[in-house]
Amino acid sequence: MSKARDSILATIRRANGSFPQLTKDAISWPQPRLNGGLAENFVQSLKKAGAVVEKVSAEAGIGGCVSRYLQREQLPSEVVVSDDEVLKLSDWPELVTVHRGRPATRNDKVSVTGAVHGIAETGTLVLVSGEQNPTTLNFLPDHHIVVLRESSLVANTEDMWGTLRERFPIFPRSVNLISGPSKTADVEQTLQLGAHGPRRLLVILVKGEKIN
């Protein structure tokens, strides 16, 4: 172990006790109440942050929803889609070229990924990296489309950490909490979308329970 480590820890240990000794269990975080339902809160917050939200009634409709978005935004009919299981259940219209199972490259305009959870309190999407989910898909393309099952919505992030701990005994390399498109106010405090990450964020909310 390094000399610096030992010396820093020794100085800290000499100071231990200068702060009130309060056990961790004695501290509880109050959680804000939601006004209204999970989906309603979630959608409102996301829209406020500048995202677009669409709803589909089943997984099969995802591809069609993406295709309509591409047409509306006058984008080329080409998307990179992650291997997330929710996306495998979708039908894809023939005119859309779908690339699967690869990270994003500089020329990709549109990516489609899944999300493990949605947080109603703040309108936040929770994306987790892994074999099926390269992180570059979340940040490099101009348009990021995220598909989320309505049944995955939870009220607060606190409701999700326990599930993540169980699902990933080793914590994922990257957990991305995404609450809107990329933005900056670094020029004269004026809000501008699309700084470095996606300029647009489309969220597709899939109704109903997970189908196994």
């Binding site: 100085t11 231990n16 200068s18 000794q21 501290i27 109050p30 080793i170 990450g197």
Partner: protein, 474 residues
């Protein structure tokens, strides 16, 4: 960077007369304050959350060694590495060695105040690396060759016109000859230029808003997405951070996040909150293959035992800067080092020494607005006063000021003598009123009369009039 805090007075004078800076500060001032008020208007149980935040930080700091060791253990477990640095020099060396090890050429950076604290860019550039800041604000000031003037809005002091000029000067040689003047075009041009940097960098350096001990994660809170490209695209991710950033669990992160963005930018939450835990895993198709965390001390462990320990609760939200009327008047550069405003006026003397930072804790009216908004309940005015006490004890306060106080204190403890002196002074001030040519010669008076009329005294003191006619009010 070397501290220029000893030039606070000169810096402030220049700042007050700089019309561009004043325009930029004017725009920022109201904006941040209103946004914060708005953001908290819809947060349920704000006070309780703030209490818990203070408690969790105090708890963590009371056993900081345990949480740091746990954090390190968990980083090791996922294949990352934690490096400990007592000083900025040690931290710079660690980063330089890593870059050297992987034969890096281009290094991209996300915003990191610790990186500013250790003057990392200068060290990397001197060693021959091509260093590119990718946060738009940091990129702007990198082009301008300036330090940040605000901990969350580094280029808040720049006007759009100045940014247009900077981009024109630096981007022309990249073939972008047209002057961009509108904000969307400015942001787009930066996106275009920086995209190349992202895709060609060998090392990405970010800071960390928090370190989660439970998982060994470093957390960044951003809006632009540059931090995420920085920690995902290059082969090596280095986190430059400091020891007080550690928090125990993910739930604690959830709690504190409710305060951070609301206090800083006035957002409920920023666009991106990212937890990075180690290098790319088996099967991953992207992400860095190396993950390093550089833990800087730089005086923090010493602060832990002393009277400034509460400063270690600071989460760098920027609310104290945004609400400080002195910061709002003179801007961040006047403070002369990387941290500015109230938190900077406490940290800078403690980190770079009381000598050479004399003005920082004194250039404050102790109006308390900073402490009122601080989400971590840091008693900033009390801490500033404590630094003044140290200055006095270590005789950094000028001899003249110390003797003046002693003489005045002596008088103030002799009510009778004091009463007589005050009566003479009251008469004198009344006589002097309307004689500005004499008034100007008195010590300190010019500082007042330059912009304000001298107050007319009534010519007698309250106590002398009262003793003469104690019942005149009835």
């Amino acid at each position: 960077m070397d501290s220029k805090a000893h030039k606070f007075r000169e810096n402030a004078k220049v700042a007050l007369l700089d019309p561009d800076l004043q325009r930029a500060l004017g725009k920022a001032r109201g904006g941040f304050v209103d946004a914060r008020t708005q953001a908290f208007s819809c947060l349920d149980r704000h006070a309780e959350i703030q209490d818990a935040a203070k408690q969790i930080k105090d708890h963590t700091l009371s056993v900081l060694d345990e949480y740091l060791v746990l954090f390190e253990k968990n980083v090791n477990k996922v294949g990352g590495k934690v490096h400990w640095a007592r000083t900025p020099a040690e931290a710079r060396k660690i980063v330089l060695d890593i870059c050297d090890d992987v034969d890096a050429r281009r290094i991209i950076k996300g915003k990191s105040m610790v990186s500013e604290e250790i003057a990392l860019n200068y060290a990397l550039e001197t060693a021959g690396y091509d260093v590119v800041e990718t946060d738009l604000g940091e990129y702007i000031i990198q082009l301008a060759g300036e330090p940040p003037s605000h901990i969350i809005a580094p280029a808040v002091h720049k006007t759009r016109q100045q940014i247009t000029d900077l981009f024109h000067k630096h981007h022309s040689r990249l073939g972008l000859k047209e002057r961009v003047t509108d904000i969307p075009d400015i942001v787009n041009e930066a996106r275009l230029v920086l995209r190349e940097a992202f895709l060609s960098a060998d090392v990405g350096i970010t800071g960390a808003n928090f370190l989660v001990a439970e998982t060994g994660s470093s957390v960044i809170v951003t809006n632009e997405g540059n931090g995420d490209l920085t920690n995902t695209l290059p082969g090596v991710h280095i986190v430059t951070t400091s020891i007080e950033k550690v928090i125990p669990t993910l739930e604690d992160l959830s709690g504190i996040l409710r305060l951070l963005a609301r206090n800083g930018t006035g957002q409920e939450i920023t666009s991106y909150t990212t937890l990075s835990t180690g290098p790319r895993r088996t099967g991953d198709k992207d992400g860095p293959s190396q993950y390093h965390v550089v833990l800087l001390d730089n005086g923090r462990s010493e602060m832990l035992a002393g009277e400034f320990k509460e400063m270690l609760r600071c989460i760098r939200c920027g609310a104290c800067l945004n609400h400080c009327p002195v910061y709002g008047a003179v801007g961040g550069h006047s403070y002369g080092w990387v941290y500015s405003g109230p938190m900077g006026a406490v940290l800078t003397p403690l980190m770079v020494g009381l000598d050479g930072t004399k003005d920082l804790p004194n250039a404050c009216t102790l109006n308390g607005r900073c402490a009122e908004v601080c989400p971590m309940s840091i008693p900033l005015p009390d801490l500033l006063r404590k630094i003044r006490v140290r200055q006095n004890e270590e005789r950094i306060t000028s001899v003249r000021a110390r003797w003046f106080m002693k003489a005045w204190g002596f008088l103030a403890c002799k009510p009778h003598l004091y009463g007589w002196c005050l009566r003479i002074l009251a008469w004198l001030l009344s006589w002097l009123w309307g004689k500005p040519h004499i008034l100007r010669l008195l010590p300190f008076v010019h500082e007042w009369t330059a912009t304000r009329e001298f107050p007319k005294s009534q010519g007698f003191t309250f106590q002398s009039a009262y003793r003469k006619a104690p019942n005149s009010h009835e």
